[in-house]
Symmetry: C2
Subunit: 369 residues, 2 copies
């Protein structure tokens, strides 16, 4: 348990029975340190399982052999324009098969769901997760139930339907859908990837960070800008850096971690800017639907990571999001969803304000297409 | 020249001045054989330049270091359903950066355009090529002019506009746009990737085939099903296999090459079915817009490849295309554009009719998202 440190066996549980704190997977780093080397990782296929010792699966992976190891693109045109020395785009918008970083977390969740003998997987989603669960769940032979806010963009829904899941459109926003799903998860024996197997699922996000470090030649960036919805990814990117140091793959971690949110849904950034630990829930109102989580499950932990790393946060308007999407497209040829615009627009503000120093190496996390 | 064998220096020309035949790049295979080994290729980064000796560039590549080497996915669910032994999906729908195999041809075209000192690149496009030229051209610092049929899907146009090219929507179908572009290419000093630098551009398609062979463990498939628009890709996939044999990377080529088209635009398949060499132009009427080329530039050569390899061709209705898109999504978690549906639907018919034997290894070329 992240709060009271109680230990639990590896089971599909996600909340501490004593303090209601979220659970986190524990690894034997000393043992992993003995076996996992840079050479060993580099000799493996280019997918997310190359870091499997640091993922919570017991047996062999059975799928997702083409997910992960997405490009880290040197963005020289954009760097020049923004006046920074070194800038990279970690581009999960070409992730196989569903074009977002959710392929990573779902791959780990499904591996664990199979180990737990579930025959049905499910999720509450703002779009990208629906695709990943629908697509990868189909390929892996699970029954699939997808719960989405009925207000989701038509194009996002259509793409998920192609994979023929059981799709349930709920009249409410993501946070309301999520609450409903918690009740459903308790009633049926279904693996809700982002609820009852969340601790395992979330660990998949670490591969995004592991890859950044490996692709930079085994070093951490000076700055990393991460878009925040539930706040899970930003905490896991930070955890991935720390773990790599822990097991001796890198010498040190001197990275400032920055949160990017849309002004219309920026509870984490608001807490950071106000210098408080309490993330106040908001009602989302932004075009960045894939980030529109008003009550972020890992919001508090996200603020702690940002403080610990001496980073900061920034939020941007819908207009700034669109401008940044266009800028990324016309300078680097990468056209991503609104979340990509949130990341770049926030980074631009953070550079202008001096939070991100111009002489450092900065990575922007682009998480979906 | 493919027709009269006249030789030309390496210049931005594409038609034989004597017989009007198309020009083809010539390589010194004996010399390449001395230097290009399996080990050398495997030691290189995972992008299309790993086969650079077999691509028509003189200097070093300057961009597209994340394009190519897309997944070859073992499609066991689909294989079981269709009753075939081994089935693979070569998945260019997650190509970096614009999600189609056009990133390959454009990468080579832009490298050559820079060697020829062009400052402007252009194309006639049915959609995917527009993205690739717009995106990669922007990143590489070229001025960009894109000519499209005004009837193109709105979503396709929007994506191209994000990269801020000069977009010209022409009131006519692709073949009419293409004719206009030939005139424009003659008037201005612009590198039209699929017109005046077409011989170099088209060579980029070979990397799709090279990768299939390498990813299968240095062997050719028994069958390969390729969607046809201009007919260029199918000829280049065949060429890639033959070249690998020529320089000793593989022992033999025993592949049957199959063409896939939509019934609403199937001039190449029609010629194959009728057993004639003449590809009669048609007026396209299909939802598979990215394949809607009624007068295919390489149609004749496509029919020759199919005959030489003892393959065949098949065409499918719009309904069959949609059903196949859904089938691919729900069995393998891969949701692609209509062209992907054309390939799978055609393959299903070819298997049922016995043209593709059930005990062989078949690769389906999925070319875009």
């Amino acid at each position: 348990c992240r709060e009271c440190d109680r230990e639990y066996p590896v089971d599909p549980i996600y909340v501490c029975e004593f303090c209601f704190g979220p659970l986190e997977v524990v690894y034997d780093y000393e043992k992993i340190k003995q076996s996992l080397t840079r050479d060993k990782i580099q000799s493996r296929p280019h997918n997310l399982w190359r870091y499997r010792e640091l993922l919570p699966i017991d047996g062999e992976p059975f799928d997702a052999f083409h997910s992960g190891f997405t490009p880290l693109v040197k963005a020289d045109n954009l760097a020049k324009l923004l006046g920074v020395k070194e800038l990279y785009i970690k581009d999960d918008s070409v992730s196989h098969p569903t074009l977002s970083f959710k392929d990573r977390v779902v791959a780990v969740a499904l591996a664990k769901a199979r180990e737990f003998n579930f025959d049905t997987v499910a999720c509450a989603s703002t779009g990208n997760l629906a695709h990943a669960v629908s697509a990868q769940g189909a390929r892996a032979g699970f029954k699939r139930f997808i719960f989405i806010p009925a207000s989701l963009e038509y194009s996002k829904i259509i793409a998920s339907l192609a994979y023929e899941p059981n799709l349930i459109a709920v009249d409410g926003n993501y946070d309301e859908v999520n609450r409903l799903c918690s009740e459903v998860a308790n009633k049926y024996h279904w693996a809700f990837v982002n609820i009852n197997i969340r601790p395992f699922y979330a660990e998949g996000s670490k591969t995004h960070g592991f890859e950044i470090v490996e692709q930079l030649g085994w070093r951490t960036p000076d700055n990393v800008v991460v878009p925040c919805a539930s706040g899970s990814l930003i905490t896991k990117v930070w955890k991935s850096f720390k773990e790599m140091k822990e097991i001796g793959l890198i010498e040190e971690v001197n990275t400032k971690v920055f949160a990017a949110q849309a002004t219309g849904c920026s509870p984490i950034v608001a807490a950071i800017k106000q210098g408080i630990d309490i993330v106040k829930p908001v009602k989302p109102n932004t075009i960045a639907k894939s980030l529109a989580i008003g009550n972020p499950a890992d919001g508090f932990y996200a603020t702690q990571v940002i403080k610990e790393s001496k980073g900061f946060g920034e939020d941007v308007s819908d207009g700034e999001i669109i401008d940044a999407m266009k800028l990324l497209a016309k300078t680097e040829g990468i056209f991503t969803e609104t979340a990509g615009g949130v990341t770049l627009a926030s980074a631009i503000k953070l550079i202008k304000a001096g939070y991100i120093k111009k002489d450092g190496l900065t990575v922007l996390c682009i998480t979906g297409n």
